[in-house]
């Protein structure tokens, strides 16, 4: 009886975590990209993932978004082990990347409708309209994406990632190439999503911006986790030192 109670409470505790990684490894062509990573992200947290180029941030994002499998270790999302075939799990993850992941010849509305329907949404049209208003693109909803500026394309990409209302938002360098107003818009959007209960993992190069936005910081150096602490307890200089080693 006691062991059942313990097991139930362990499951409940695991379910409170959006992401739980243990000994996570990724090896590509004999090169170790991620080396025995272990971390936990509670639900509803805003986490910044920092590291130099090649530290393994994007690889970790690709593993968490189920685009590529890990080479070893254990990974669970929302208390469930991650399996590449799990359609239900895919519905809970949204990835914003520096690549737009959009069809350039289609309009934002057509892109959003397509992805919404692929996620099995019945109200895809309504949701697309709502999101295009949220990212301030309602007046350009029917123009082809190829005519958009970098900022407008990125806002469309964010709307695409949010189309299926994911619980975990993986933002891989979402500010890359954006001007100041667009950066501010994306910052506000991510903040609003976090306040509405979404868990956010933000991979970023701007240390000060990351410390300002996120509640917790993870720093990767050559595939290893070298810092995991609340952002209020660490300075930009300390983070920079950890990144550079």
């Amino acid at each position: 009886m006691r062991s059942i109670e313990r097991s139930t409470s362990a499951q409940a505790a695991a379910a409170e975590l959006a992401v739980h990684a243990r000994n996570l490894r990724k090896v590509i062509d004999d090169r170790v990209i991620l080396d025995d990573l272990g971390f936990a992200i509670p639900r509803g947290r805003y986490i910044a993932l920092l590291g130099a180029n090649g530290a393994g941030k994007s690889t970790l994002m690709r593993i968490l978004s189920m685009l590529t499998p890990p080479s070893g270790g254990e990974l669970s999302l929302f208390g469930q082990p991650l399996r590449s075939t799990s359609a239900g799990m895919r519905r809970r993850i949204g990835l914003i990347s520096h690549q737009a992941m959009l069809y350039r010849d289609l309009s934002p509305r057509e892109n959003l409708r397509l992805f919404g329907k692929l996620y099995g949404m019945r109200n895809a049209d309504q949701r697309a309209t709502q999101l295009l208003q949220l990212v301030n693109l309602a007046d350009r909803a029917d123009d082809p994406v190829k005519n958009f500026s970098r900022g407008m394309t990125q806002r469309t990409a964010i709307a695409r990632a949010l189309m299926h209302d994911p619980d975990l938002i993986l933002a891989d360098e979402p500010f890359a190439g954006l001007d100041a107003p667009s950066t501010h818009t994306v910052e506000l959007l991510l903040d609003a999503l976090n306040k509405s209960g979404r868990t956010i993992l933000l991979a970023n190069h701007d240390i000060e911006q990351s410390l300002r936005l996120a509640q917790q910081v993870l720093v990767l150096r050559r595939g290893k986790l070298v810092l995991d602490c609340p952002s209020s307890q660490v300075s930009a200089a300390e983070v920079l030192k950890e990144i550079g080693g």
Binding site: S65, L67, R90, M101, L114, R160
Partner: protein
Amino acid sequence: MRTTLSQILLLVGKDLRIEARSRQTLGLVITLGLLIVVVLGLGLGAEAAKGYSAMAVLWVAYLFSGVLCFEKTMAVERHEGAMAGLLLAPVDRGVIYLSKLIANLLMMLAVALVVTPAGVLFFSFDLSAAPLSFALIMGLGMLGVAAVGTLFAAVVSSTRLAGGLLAMVVFPVVLPVVIASTQLMLGIFRDGKELGGTGLAVLIAFDVIFVTVSWLVFEWILEP
């Protein structure tokens, strides 16, 4: 099953809409097909180009146009990481393969609708003896070529050797299709035989094997 079908229709519709809007592929491949017919027709000379050589020339036109179709439709997925967007969604990778195959096949058929009459006229090839057999043989042949081409286009598009490599990979693999369909048509149009026999069995078997195998292995070869 219903979800799978609706996802395939969605993705095929997406490919056709992109093509209708960009007009990048079809105009190019039809022009290429027509040029091949004309150049080979003139090159073969007036006598040699008469009649049955039309079948071989048409196959050359279909193959080169097809390869260009496969490259272009896969390039759309590679631009700005659109394929990664598809792979993030709860869509079976086999569904992505089947939708791409159908879109490619429809484009090849559109090319054939223009290039075939041109070839028939240019080579004075009399199709009236068995037009339905001709359509069936070419349709089965194109399905086999599209099945192989769609698979290898996905493989090749993620390498740096995309341009040109696809033709080198696809042509040797689809050789049985070209030989079987050409022999079948010679039998029908030159020798007056009925449609059937080993040639037809080879075409059907090739289609079944390559569509099934490609659908199954697509999951492992598709990189975002």
